[in-house]
Symmetry: C2
Subunit: 497 residues, 2 copies
Amino acid sequence: MLSTQVPTETSDAGLEACCRRAEESAAELEAVGRRRRAKVLDEMAAALEQHRAEIVATADAETSLGEPRLDGELTRTCFQLRFMGALVAEGSYLEATIDHAGPTPMGARPDLRRVLKPLGPVAVFGASNFPLAFSVAGGDTASALAAGCPVVVKAHPAHPATSALCAQALVEASERAGLHEPPVGLVFGEAAGVRLVQHPAIKAIGFTGSLRGGRSLFDLARSRPDPVPFYGELGALNPLVVAPGAAERRAGEIAKGLAASFTLGVGQFCTKPGLLLAPAGPAGDALKEELAAQVSTMKAGRMLTKQVAQAFAAGSAALASHPGVKLVAEGVAPDGDEAWWGTPLVLEAEAAEVDGPVTEECFGPVLVLVRYRDLAQLSQIFKKLKPALTVSLHADLPQDRSVAELVNKAGSEMAGRVVWGGYPTGVAVSWAMHHGGPYPATTDPLHTSVGAAAIRRWLRPVCYQDFPQEMLPPELRDDPPPEHQVPRRVDGELVLP
Amino acid sequence: MLSTQVPTETSDAGLEACCRRAEESAAELEAVGRRRRAKVLDEMAAALEQHRAEIVATADAETSLGEPRLDGELTRTCFQLRFMGALVAEGSYLEATIDHAGPTPMGARPDLRRVLKPLGPVAVFGASNFPLAFSVAGGDTASALAAGCPVVVKAHPAHPATSALCAQALVEASERAGLHEPPVGLVFGEAAGVRLVQHPAIKAIGFTGSLRGGRSLFDLARSRPDPVPFYGELGALNPLVVAPGAAERRAGEIAKGLAASFTLGVGQFCTKPGLLLAPAGPAGDALKEELAAQVSTMKAGRMLTKQVAQAFAAGSAALASHPGVKLVAEGVAPDGDEAWWGTPLVLEAEAAEVDGPVTEECFGPVLVLVRYRDLAQLSQIFKKLKPALTVSLHADLPQDRSVAELVNKAGSEMAGRVVWGGYPTGVAVSWAMHHGGPYPATTDPLHTSVGAAAIRRWLRPVCYQDFPQEMLPPELRDDPPPEHQVPRRVDGELVLP
């Protein structure tokens, strides 16, 4: 049984101690090597599973998400830790590269060997909408530990006890795996978060949350005397396009899928589709009617926090009163106290009014429908949209080819993931996943916060010139022992072990 | 014969037109595909070689670098373009990744396919110290074009005609390779540079130059409404350590190599070793004497600009008057007008005085010697140093093992390249090179401005979910045609074509 003491605001001295421990841990985490770090991650997954009942119950008491969802989220959290462990053991992520000495058109080249090394201690900000999978034991933490970077987590105020429990489980697991220094620390309170971003020991920051909060921490991180990378995943509008042929053939099916997607988790996913671009004409009319029918029977849901519910009420009201916007359908309002609740809502905006709030994310179960007359108008609408995490498309080939080509091109340019015939909620943890996009989707378009490549955020290259074999990292030696054999590029050729 | 009209300050309208053309070019550069872009780069290298005599003569007239160096620099510039062309044709840089649909512990996973795409038009700031290899046709431009990103270069005021000539050669070559839009534009003047960094069409910035100038542009780029990546390579102190055994055995040889390295190009390389850490005692005394003997016969050199020479005079004077700093040796001062000249200088600082200017780069031919008594003091000195591009070490194993281990560890932590038994000047263009480091060496510790990985700065991932084969980028299809076969990761396994 873990202790479930709910902590208060972390003091300056507490933060300082936490950062100092992270520095101690950094040396150990790198020194123990990849295989041991993989073992630490496996132990962490096992510890979370061992305490599953307690963690899920605590998170259930602190949030409105419900046990089934939290149980699934814990499974995802454990999967992420093990996935990162396997990735680290495989070793491709090191980008090991060897150029032997030799002649070049510019003269003799020395022996050069490049590998990726951990950046140092990193700060992770827990997210409100994923108390497990994007918080203390979440994807940022898993990928940073895998890279060899200790983590100091700023707990989200919506689930402090869950955060403390998870941190305790991770530290216990690290002890079981033989580490002397705890590779995970935890701080509480907004002031501690601000100091953490500015602390010289912290070499990078991972953040999942709102545009406003993320931008303000981003600005802090980049205005440090020594600016450090800030990976903020700030959410997005995530447009979904239905092409005329698909609307004609599958209006009911698409309406059902879309209604489920934009209301999933009470619309509180960063990949929530917030804008539906549907064709004008009868096929689009049918889609709109089916959607209205679906949504009008859907119940309000309890949101993550009272603040989130208030922001949703204000944001959806602003949207509804925007020029050219009218109500299409509303779900079933809650009985009694509405302070924490969000009711599903579909609005329609005129194509000419796609600006201001219509182009911005409203966190919660609201979808704005816009009808496009033709390809030219669809293209014009896309020009007004800001970058997003995802763009989705329902199209039937060959009939919808021109719409599909337009959306494929625009989607690849403005988003990190383009979804065909599906819905953007649900972000698989895999080698090929990309969860990111140009600003304001994220603060760094090159990197992902989900999937294998998430580890790259916490690594920096180091090149060794003319080093004696014995002084090189083992993965860069000419004949590494079996446990240090990894895929490498040798004299320009990829070589598998 | 290229026209060598020297341009003036670029107007707002001129900058606007340049950015619009870059946007047009972005669509074309991506659409023509990798093989065609490789051909464009080859044509560019050929065009520069075709105009070699004219370009070298113009650069020689505009700078103090001399024909042999400029001729070599043009060779490097052409090599970089061809190297990037070959890299793009090979295709590993795409990081093509395929996860077929299938079951996971979190439920069914869709088909996911990830590839890297060009970021869009980028801005490149020409460097004063490399009018060819780090300017209009330099490494930033070569890697950006290879990625599929058109470039708008801000010409360095020290070599405007050379910049204009090179741009013209690149544009001619792009026409010869069949491009309709010029993928390279050129603007002049500080005001145009500032507007360029803030222009919404520009999606990333490459910069090589001073800490002050780079930080100010970095701050601009990151305070945009939509912040964009800024890759600034700002220079560094580049400490070089001589271990006791090496000093005992090879004082003369090391002194000679070091004197040549810190004065190479009148000390105007970003990898210039600026700090020598030598042992106390007789072996270190001998090294110091040999170094003094070498330097006292070396002649002053004409610097890049009058401003650079003035900054060097002021910086080296400030260093010389720092507490605990004394003169060791000075080279031969120039006859007559000294306004443009820099005279080689070796100073010695007490170990206790390693702070302030002693820890900062002074651009020009100055080296500060610091003597360390033992391992503990060497370690203390390293703790006071800021991150750098390089750390170099001369050590004889097994005698110098403890010094070597300390410097290897500290060097890997604070620098992007650790050099064994050599000198940091000379940055090979190869797969394994890393030219970077934590701030203030660069503004982005994850990336390099030299070598194969330099292309990664201009690319962002896009993931395609459940896409029909025909709509996928060719490199992501199940059975790509031979010209689109690249190394890929398929269901977690690296697969070579």
